[in-house]
Symmetry: C2
Subunit: 222 residues, 2 copies
């Protein structure tokens, strides 16, 4: 049975698989804030229902079924976030937590109804790509602002959605998907950078910069 907890593990496994290629007990443990022993137990359970391939001491891999389920949940999550912002007018930084709850209870066809009302959006309010109904995602090869070159114009593609506090802060500084941005200078020692966002000068911490992603295609030389 795919419980809410299993769904959360699936999201985490998928995320780590995308992020770093290999998924380990310890990474899951850290991400989910669950002790390694418990993670092993759950992983075995999930392998038992064919959501992932597991051999002791080896890296964990999603099966085709597991990947399908993971993308399904991601789709729900991101459509719900979009719905909450676009239709219900919730602030950008609140929708993640709310979607974390909704994603486990909203019926499939109600999710599809949301998609329809929204005009089948390709990205959620943070710029993350929404998998389509068949589980296809266009893997965004966005560049973290922390690795983006200085003095080059870029368009913000995505802003990580986990931390409501940070999101509020970024939103207040005009940092949202679609906005033009340029790094003026980096003070590596101080852990900050000076940028312009939609023409205005801002100081941004390195920590925050890691959560902001720039679209690679639309970057232009100065």
């Amino acid at each position: 049975m795919i419980t809410a907890s299993v769904e959360n593990y699936l999201k985490a496994v998928y995320y780590l698989q995308e992020e770093s290629g290999d998924v380990s007990t310890s990474k899951l443990s850290e991400l989910l804030k669950i002790r390694p022993a418990s993670v092993t137990g759950m992983i075995k359970k999930m392998a038992g229902i064919n959501l992932l391939v597991y051999q002791p001491y080896r890296t964990i891999k999603l099966t085709a079924k597991g990947r399908r389920e993971a993308l399904k949940i991601l789709r729900r999550h991101r459509l719900i976030e979009s719905f909450l912002v676009e239709i219900m007018g919730l602030p950008w930084n609140r929708v993640h937590q709310e979607a974390e709850k909704w994603e486990h209870v909203v019926s499939d066809d109600v999710v599809e109804r949301m998609a329809q009302l929204l005009g089948n959006p390709k990205h959620d309010p943070h710029g993350a790509p929404i998998p389509n109904k068949h589980g296809a995602v266009t893997p965004s090869k966005n560049i973290s602002l922390a690795e983006f070159p200085v003095a080059v114009d870029g368009i913000i593609a995505e802003v990580d959605d986990k931390n409501a506090e940070l999101l509020r802060y970024l939103a207040q500084n005009g940092i949202r998907p679609g906005v033009r941005l340029r790094i003026i200078s980096v003070e590596a020692a101080g852990g900050v950078m000076t940028i312009t966002v939609a023409g205005k000068k801002r100081i941004l911490s390195e920590k925050a910069a890691h959560k902001v992603y720039i679209s690679p295609r639309v970057g232009k030389q100065p």
Copy 2:
């Protein structure tokens, strides 16, 4: 802790209290499809957190807090139903089941946002009154169609929302809140009645008639 299960008990207790005045273990057991022994256990737990007053072998009563919580859930449930019909375009007979899941996860302020989007409706799609933010309800003194006089015009006020099958059937026959209706004749032996709904003649089972309520005020003599 008010779990989803406690919320369901609260709804049931409130419902029975309205319905018949006194709430007993056996009635709860029957309504919730949970064995009497289990109901006693849960009732004790709920009394422990001050949701209801309980003394062994005596009838169960909601405390002020319990009543407040029950009305809060009822408000959520009915607002969500309205939202699903009005904003999301779900069919009338599907919203009850969906709302049963949503009501336990949607945040308070998101529920209020729904209310606002809907223009603070007073009734849900089945005609049931929606308690206001402070837990006030206008107790509808509607008359079941099974007790309604013959040859008197009435306006449908409410249609019970539990059974999707029955709702679909009633909707197909034009039986919805707001529609004008009149009983032509009752064949008690056959367990059916002949009625006109918005001018059209229909046959209705007694079972179905129990689920349809007529507004008392707008009844007119022939």
